[in-house]
């Protein structure tokens, strides 16, 4: 083939252009550490990176939900532990009153003790964390319980907030006060009336109701334990998912540095060779040999 001068120059320029482009791509990979720096580098993978990023954001959110739920559930757990202790103490005071029902002054003292223990429970029932009444159902902005004499009434509702803490895993974040405290207040109210009346049969009957209340409280605490266990499950699930997604993302997006650096060096060498060949082309010309 006849080679015109313009051909050699154009081919040289094109080869240099191509090598420079390759050099640029390789150095972009090395400097950013990413294989994908623009959607056109790999369109499908770029779209996948967008979806993976959203999934990672979702996992962060689940984790935040689990943290918040854990905070509320732990406060509820310790509140119910205290409730259990106080109810047991009240039961022993009631039993004491049943045994010494003839002594009015002892009964009065015991009734006073029971009342002050009741007040402790009342304040537990109106526990406020981060500005919310924890046991008011959804009516969290006002107290869950009100007291009038010995009668305590529940002002909240039965709403339980469920929160997602992992894909397909929900946690019940609160226990309505009616479920946790409801029976306790009426039991105490009856016991107080019985103690003050001095009727041993009434006292025993009132004490008899405590069994059911304590075992119902036990069930509430168990279910609370189940919810708390879900948090642990979610932490493990989220950790596994995050590792998997992050690995996938790195696989899709991150550069193979060793390969990129090798390619950078190779391209550099090729570029030098092309430049060398170019200067050779420039030197070879018949005019130089004609006197």
């Amino acid at each position: 083939m006849r080679i015109a001068d313009a051909t050699s120059y154009r081919n040289l320029v094109e080869r240099l252009h191509m090598l420079n482009e390759r050099l640029e791509q390789a150095s972009r990979e090395v400097s950013t550490g990413k294989r994908l720096t623009r959607p056109q580098d790999a369109p499908a993978e770029s779209a996948e990176v967008v979806r993976l990023a959203a999934e990672l954001d979702g996992i962060d959110q689940y984790r935040a939900n689990a943290d918040d739920s854990g905070f509320f559930l732990h406060v509820a757990e310790s509140t119910l532990n205290s409730l259990h202790e106080i109810l047991t103490t009240i039961f022993t005071r009631g039993s004491a009153a049943a045994n010494s029902f003839q002594d009015a002054s002892v009964r009065r003292t015991l009734a006073g003790e029971i009342r002050s223990l009741r007040d402790e429970i009342f304040s537990l029932a109106n526990t406020q964390v981060r500005g919310r009444y924890l046991f008011a159902g959804s009516r969290v902005t006002s107290p869950a319980f009100a007291i009038d004499g010995d009668a305590v009434t529940y002002l909240g509702d039965e709403i339980v907030n469920a929160v997602q803490i992992a894909g397909g895993l929900e946690v019940a974040q609160n226990i309505p006060g009616s479920t946790a405290f409801g029976a306790a207040f009426s039991d105490i109210e009856q016991l107080l009336a019985a103690v003050e009346s001095g009727d041993p049969a009434a006292i025993r009957s009132a004490l008899g109701r405590f069994d059911a209340t304590l075992s119902s409280l036990g069930r509430v605490r168990t279910s609370l334990g189940v919810e708390l266990a879900k948090l642990e499950d979610s932490a493990i699930m989220l950790q596994a998912q995050e590792t998997q997604i992050a690995a996938r993302r790195a696989h899709v997006e991150d550069a193979d540095l060793a390969a990129a650096i090798t390619r950078l060096n190779q391209t550099q060498t090729a570029l030098q060779a092309a430049l060398g060949a170019g200067s050779l082309v420039r030197r070879l010309n018949l005019f130089d040999y004609l006197g």
Partner: protein
């Protein structure tokens, strides 16, 4: 042998012929770097022999013509490929600008803003009455709306920039068409006088090649030597000495329309820079903007509907969360992304609670957050973020396809140019040899003249004795 004087005239003609050949070679060397120059050659023919008494003698050499090494088919092919190359080149440049706006690898932010917005409802679900969490919801909603507006406006500004380029390109096309018509006149006139029109043709071909980089063109040469140039779909540019200027007008959507002879030819321009720009504007960018609008409209409608199902801090039914979008053009969401804004300013108005529940209920916040996982786009196949990922995919794929096409086109063009060079390009080595050849021939003929001179002198001396 013929007479000495006849020999002199043979030698004189030979000198003239070699000189002409030398000047052609010189012209080739001078144009070694002239783009589009077609190498020329002097065609020398032997003079017709003259019959003498018993034998024939040649009458030397004469310059018959100066021809160009031109392959019209190759020129035409090159011209067509130039159109494609320019189309891909400008489409690729425009698409890369859009791509950089939607480049999630650099954190363009729409995905992050989408996730942050829906996740802010999930955070709110943890303590729906919490004023700071409510504030957070409004802040991320504001950020989402701002990101939509900004991405939309950035893509639009790429389009606005192209609009200016389109108008400039039409100007340039008109100038070139006029120049071709002018050269047509010169070629026709020179050809009628029997002159060498190779250089004029080269110049005209150069202009047609430049025109081909701006729009798709097809052309043919008439018998008189004039070139008729038009687009592939028949919009005239130059016929004889007449050129046809295209006009630009503003369409109903504010975008530039191109008219020729009063007819709108915008959709009929297939290739070249103009074709590439129009393609990106009318097909790609229009598609991307429509998708952004569809996404924004679906989010506005979905969030507003769910928001209305809940109640706010005061137990009142939720109002519009985002400013409701009313279509400007029926059946289209045009303008949804550009005008997206949050309607609520008072955090108490966020309807996180289920209807009938107190302010601590999170049921509606949970449902609002869950909207992000519902398949509400693409005919019930994609979630919001998946739909956006699909847009990123499309932009990436379009940019890549055009880029790949450009690469292939460049190679093809280089091959064709090499082919053209192989025929029409100047090789300095070759010209050096020719130079030597014609120089030596000139020298030999000059020497012959001296020989005749010597012989004549001798003869005269004999006579003068």
């Amino acid at each position: 042998m013929s007479s000495l004087f006849a020999s002199l005239s043979v030698a004189r003609e030979a000198l003239r012929a070699q000189q002409a050949a030398l000047s052609v070679t010189q012209n080739n060397i001078a144009n070694v770097n002239t783009p589009g120059y077609t190498r020329q050659r002097a065609t020398l023919v032997a003079g017709a022999p003259v019959a003498l008494a018993e034998y024939q003698s040649g009458m030397g050499v004469r310059l018959e013509s100066i021809d160009a090494y031109r392959d019209r088919l190759l020129d035409c092919r090159l011209n067509q490929e130039l159109q494609r190359k320019a189309e891909y080149e400008y489409a690729a440049a425009a698409l890369e600008q859009v791509e950089s706006i939607l480049n999630e690898h650099a954190g363009s932010g729409l995905q992050a803003a989408l996730s942050a917005f829906f996740n802010s409802f999930a955070s709110l679900a943890n303590a729906p009455e919490d004023a700071s969490l409510r504030q957070q919801v409004l802040a991320s909603a504001g950020r989402l709306a701002a990101t939509f507006r900004s991405v939309y406006e950035q893509i639009q500004s790429v389009r606005a920039m192209q609009e200016r380029t389109i108008a400039d390109t039409v100007e340039e096309i008109n100038t070139l068409a006029a120049a071709i018509a002018r050269l047509n006149g010169e070629v026709v006139a020179a050809q009628a006088l029997g002159g060498n029109v190779s250089t004029l043709r080269d110049q005209r071909q150069q202009l047609v090649d430049r025109l081909a980089q701006l729009t798709d063109v097809t052309y043919f040469e008439t018998e008189s030597g004039a070139l008729t140039v038009m687009t592939r779909q028949g919009a005239l540019l130059a016929v004889g000495t007449q050129s046809y200027a295209w006009q630009t007008t503003s369409g109903p959507d504010g975008l530039t329309r191109i008219t020729a002879e009063g007819a709108d030819i915008t959709a009929r321009i297939e290739s070249g820079k103009l074709g590439g720009l129009l393609q990106v504007r009318d097909r790609h960018i229009a598609d991307y903007l429509a998708r952004l609008d569809d996404l924004a409209a679906a989010i506005i409608a979905g969030v507003n509907a769910q928001h209305a199902a809940g109640v706010d801090m005061d137990g009142l039914a939720g109002g519009a969360f985002f400013t409701p979008f009313t279509p400007i053009v029926p059946g289209s969401n045009l303008g949804a992304a550009r005008s997206m804004s949050v309607a609520i300013t008072d955090t108490d108005r966020i309807a996180a609670a289920a209807a009938g529940a107190g302010p601590g209920s999170n049921a509606n916040a949970v449902r609002l957050s869950a909207l992000q996982n519902e398949l509400r786009m693409g005919g019930g196949t994609l979630s919001f973020v998946q739909y956006y990922a699909d847009l990123v995919f499309r932009v990436g794929l379009d940019t890549r396809t055009v880029g790949d096409n450009l690469g292939i086109q460049e190679q093809l063009l280089a091959q064709l140019q090499n082919q053209r060079d192989a025929l029409s390009g100047v090789s300095l080595d070759e010209e050096a040899v020719d130079l030597l050849r014609y120089q030596k021939a000139y020298e030999a003929n000059a020497r012959f003249i001296r020989l005749v001179d010597d012989l004549t002198e001798e003869l005269l001396q004999l006579l003068g004795g």
